[in-house]
Amino acid sequence: MLIRALQDEGVDYIFGYPGGAALHIYDAIFRQQRVQHILVRHEQAATHMADGYARATGRPGVALVTSGPGATNAVTGLATAFMDSIPMVVISGQVPNPLIGTDAFQETDMVGISRPVVKHSFMIKHASEIPTVVKKAFFIATSGRPGPVVIDVPKDTTDPSQLFDYHYPETVKMRSYSPATRGHSGQIRKAVELLLTAKRPVIYAGGGVIQGEASAILTEMTRYLGFPITNTLMGLGCYPATDPLFLGMLGMHGTYEANMAMHHSDMILAVGARFDDRVTNDPEKFCPGAKVIHIDVDPASISKIIPAEVPIVGPALPVLTDMLALLRERIEADPALLDRAAHGHWREQIAGWRAQHGLDHGLMGQGSHGVKIRPQAVVQCLYQVTGGEAFITSDVGQHQMFAAQYYHFDQPRRWINSGGLGTMGFGLPSAMGVKFAYPDAVVACVTGEGSIQMNIQELSTCTQYGLPVKVINLNNQALGMVKQWQDMQYGGRHSSSTYQDSLPDFVRLVESYGHVGIRVTEFADLEGAMREAFSARLRDRLVFLDISVDPDEHVYPMAIKGGSMCDMLLSRTEQS
């Protein structure tokens, strides 16, 4: 009944791992063809695969785990998806209803343990509820502000000897759940009037634009207005990074020009972004001269951190569509409404900031910096070799920030990382989820030697299913981001951020799984190795590039704690 409901929901892949409480479900999977089950090596990885699949496609990812330890292993993946508003359905086996509450073998209160990190959860009481619950779970996961949903399935409700009538509902109606589908027209009108008064506007767009499939309309509107635009870590790709209006990422490790523009702006149009503390720095000092228009599908995100002058609750696509139509109407009637001279001056000012302290995207052309390879150069090399067309997943640390800063994403859903929770171990399994969704696409995981070891067992899953993802390991022989903070704030005391020669030989390790490993230690070999990894010859192979990068590199710019957005460290010696 459960698997039939998943079929009817159009699910093609389930990422999972079996166990006692889930065995009826696994038997049902065995006896059908439509839903393919992918056997992972750790339940956390199953949830990240489902998550990567969802981020790349926009369709909900599905994971299946057993009760007890299977369920608890899935919690990190749920929290990761929850923080980034990713649609996902996780089905957990549970001990039979009569045993619940008895501390039975492998019993865990999954609904309880996952409650703070799910959008919603269900516990099946009776088999007959299964179709409706599955329908509701998918509806909730994908509508409004998306998020993960848990269905906890006691074993007795999937007993194959008990048969019930099956009917999969076409639609669901829930009197207590009706997410906004449009923006309030009066608010949109107010926002348009405010936009027209702006002299130094910035558009600040986040993951909600990507989730809301609003990248195209946002791009159209931004170009029409000629307003500079910055993206959050989650929003990269929602506006073409190679476009001249694009300022790069903002926030803690955002570009100098993006943070300066935000700080000096007089109007911020926030779309699908939530003024995260990694963006605003000290909210008290946030952009003192700016009026804020905030569009978000989640009313609770609006005015949570920064009060909005004009709040608009609604999905980005219809809101921006209405907004652009109204802007066109107003501006066509009176072209002088837009202060193009002021905007031109503003763009020049921003270009000046960029020229002063912008990121240097030409590191590859400058050749070797002494003996060490700069990690930024590796990302630039990856960008060039993949023509900017790859799906890039990442783990968490310095390498993640370098990837975000130096790979230019021109399309949405190509940049896949754990922004909100910052989950090390996310990169490889999420890349695998993407590869299942798009077998012909180039998928690369930018990782560090720390993060990759948090789900490295999935190399075996890649062998089993022949998944030719590429892994770019920026090996700085340290928990680099931790080390950077220790350098800056703890007098260089590297407490537990290095491994004392205990790292594995990654090349031999991946070879033992049947994959291709290439070690790079010289800058001169970098480009050749990168081309080799993405060559036609190795198209069908998982290639792991283990690249020794400068262990002393820091990520800059970096926001100065407790400051405003324009307070940044720009290098070891300079600050704004």
Partner: protein, 163 residues
């Protein structure tokens, strides 16, 4: 400021734990909480009191509204409203105290609902402030046990919180 928030939610297993969990998770405090099914057994009505400034209360109501099982959230303190709380107090009552307790109860329109040779149990209803005042009047020394129901409330006039 003290606020009284009324919540209408699905009468389903787990719904209440989500409401309580939300408060714990987001560091909001709950002063009192009452909950029971309504005339429609599929619905529960919950009243809670909490303390917070406008910004905090706005966040609380928005997050409550986000819970899937929550149907309606109203801050009763935004308008005219009626609040009632019920309290049972067991009071030491020997000798002269017996008359004194009875007199105090009368002043508060409270009823003595159980009597033994050495104790009275008094039932008081009213606003939380009135209940506090009763405890104060009796004097903490002679109080043996107190149980309070928490606040229930609704809006004055024609306004209703319903489907």
């Amino acid at each position: 400021m003290r606020r009284i928030i009324a919540v209408l939610l699905e009468n389903e297993a787990g719904a209440l734990s989500r409401v309580v969990g939300l408060f714990a998770q987001r560091n909001y405090n709950i002063e009192t909480l009452t909950v029971a099914p309504t005339e429609d057994p599929t619905l529960s009505r919950l009243t809670l009191t909490t303390i917070g400034d406008d910004r905090k209360i706005e966040q609380i109501t928005k997050h409550l509204n986000k819970l899937i099982e929550v149907i309606k959230v109203v801050d009763l303190t935004e308008g005219e409203h009626i609040e009632r709380e019920l309290m049972l107090v067991k009071v030491k009552a020997v000798g002269a105290q017996r008359a004194e307790v009875k007199r105090t109860a009368d002043i508060f329109r409270a009823q003595v609902v159980d009597v033994t040779g050495s104790a009275y149990t008094v039932q008081v209803t009213g606003t939380s402030g009135k209940l506090d005042a009763f405890i104060h009047a009796i004097g903490e020394l002679s109080i043996l046990e107190v149980v309070r129901s928490g606040v229930s409330g609704l809006s004055r006039g024609e306004k209703v919180v319903s489907l």
